[in-house]
């Protein structure tokens, strides 16, 4: 015997309203993302401002590469499947 099937009504086509005034929750989301971007920019700027000529050893260079790769990878990362 097949399982009981419950039909789900469609949403009213007039429900869509991208012009709806944004609530506090969405405003907070934008603030949080902006703050995260600011921190991101700060980290980027710090690395960009490093004088590359000051990096003498493999340890110096690897630390720089580590920082740059981590930032670029995070920036470029796309949600990936498991």
């Amino acid at each position: 015997m097949p399982p009981k099937v419950i039909p789900v009504p469609k949403t009213d086509a007039r429900a869509y309203n991208p012009n709806r005034r944004a609530g506090l929750l969405l405003q907070a989301q934008a603030v949080h993302l902006r703050e995260a971007l600011i921190k991101h920019v700060h980290e980027l700027t710090t690395l960009i401002n490093v004088d590359l000529k000051s990096l003498k050893s493999e340890g110096d260079i690897s630390a720089y590469i580590h920082g740059a790769t981590a930032l670029l990878h995070t920036h470029a990362a796309r949600p990936a499947k498991k």
Binding site: V5, P7, Q29, R78, P79, K81
Partner: protein, 409 residues
């Protein structure tokens, strides 16, 4: 350990937005008397002193605009009815209409906060609530807004926050449940709807650990491809926006004043993705829960709880009094879904002499306990939380005994 637990491989949590238990499920009590819903006699005074009874007149959209207040001072008014701060005041759930009037400035419209749904208009959540396990006593973690409540679902604490500040992580020794899972050799994902909707409150994780994020389309793909992580947390769509193909994407979070029916369809889609995969259905538990009540009426007084170890200052609460995280927020709908749950399971709440009280800390608490055998630092509230997986039984219901939704595409 039950056979249901023996077979469990995946826990999926879908957290919706801002609806109280009574608003969505209170109408079920007429047919199911053990569900602690509404008799129809519950009421609140309005600002004229008139008594406003609950009414089964909730609509999918347009009744709750402006968005009902659910910040800490507003929820304090809703719970205590405007009694002044101080020892001896008693929670009475009598301030919802008064608080909504402060926003609507319209006595008639302030009554909308007492409206609840006809169960026939919510075929998805009411079916799931009556076919599986509904919690009479699942409360939001604190009497406040979204961010701090969702923090409890991710970390088991809000680190002392009672507001909307995302940068709440003050104690790096407490890892998110996702980090715990990965560090413990497990898998975990946060599925947000799409990049226009994104994730609501954990941008620090989005920035530092993008590998734990994926979109809802990927959740559907992971279900059909049998690649679902051990633990999944799903976020609905938080705003109306154009789709990639120029179509219309509706908010499905049910946050007022978003369309409740669209949220129903989203819940049904999540359920079907698990239910219709025979490789997934027998070994997955789906928890549907709401982050907080959104300022909408519920008749059950939130109980006291184990203090969190933090104290929010009087300035932070906005009530003139500090808050020691020793009382839960307003009750929210919560349903646990699995074929290992007997139809019509009702988890008793405060109406019972043997209540089983839940709040959002139970999510990381239960996930940590099950997958990591408790082998990760858990917060005080997690340690004190009830384990919702105890509801899984030794008997798996047959395939034809578990409903399916259709007409969702």
């Amino acid at each position: 350990m039950s056979a249901g637990l023996d077979n469990l491989k995946h826990i999926v949590v879908l957290m919706m937005e801002n609806r109280s238990f009574d608003h969505l499920l209170g109408g079920l009590m007429k047919k199911y008397p053990r569900i602690n819903g509404l008799t129809g006699n519950e009421s609140n005074p309005d600002t004229t002193g008139a008594i406003v009874a609950v009414q089964q007149k909730a609509e999918f959209q347009s009744q709750l605009d402006p968005d009902p207040d659910h910040h800490f001072p507003g929820v304090d008014l809703q719970i205590f009815g405007g009694q002044p701060q101080g020892p001896g005041r008693v929670a009475n759930m009598q301030g919802f209409v008064k608080d909504y009037f402060s926003q609507t400035k319209d006595v008639g419209r302030s009554h909308n906060i007492m409206y609840y749904f006809d169960p026939n208009n919510l075929p998805v959540i009411t079916t799931l609530a009556t076919e599986y396990a509904v919690f009479n006593g699942w409360f939001s973690a604190i009497p406040g807004p979204t961010i701090c409540n969702r923090a409890f679902a991710h970390y088991g604490t809000s680190f002392g926050q009672v507001g909307m500040d995302i940068f709440y992580i003050l104690d790096n020794s407490i890892a998110s449940i996702y980090e715990r899972m990965i560090q413990g050799g497990g898998t975990a994902k946060i599925y947000y709807y799409d990049q226009q909707s994104s994730t609501m409150e954990i941008v620090n994780l989005l920035k530092n650990q993008p590998q734990i994020f994926a979109t809802f389309d990927q959740f559907l793909g992971d279900c059909s491809g049998n690649t679902l992580p051990d633990y999944s947390f799903i976020e609905p769509c938080y705003n109306d926006h154009p789709g990639a193909d120029g179509g219309q994407i509706l908010a499905s979070d049910q946050h007022p004043d978003h369309n409740v029916r669209e949220g129903e369809r989203f819940i049904g889609t999540v359920y079907n993705a698990i239910r219709t995969n025979p490789n997934l259905w027998p070994n997955t538990a789906l928890l549907l829960v709401y982050d907080e009540h959104g300022g909408i009426y519920d008749h059950v007084v939130p109980p006291a709880c184990t203090p969190d170890g933090y104290t929010a200052s009087a300035d932070a609460t906005g009530t003139g009094a500090p808050f020691a995280f020793d009382r839960l927020g307003v009750r929210v709908p919560a349903v646990l879904i699995s074929p290992w749950i007997a139809r019509g399971t009702i988890v008793p709440g405060t109406e019972s002499p043997n209540p089983q009280i839940y709040e959002h800390s139970a999510i990381p608490g239960t996930v940590t306990q099950f997958f990591l055998k408790g082998d990760a630092k858990r917060t005080i509230r997690e340690q004190k939380s009830n384990n919702f997986l105890n509801l899984l039984t030794d008997t798996m219901r047959s395939d034809d005994d578990c409903v399916v939704f259709n007409n969702l595409s």
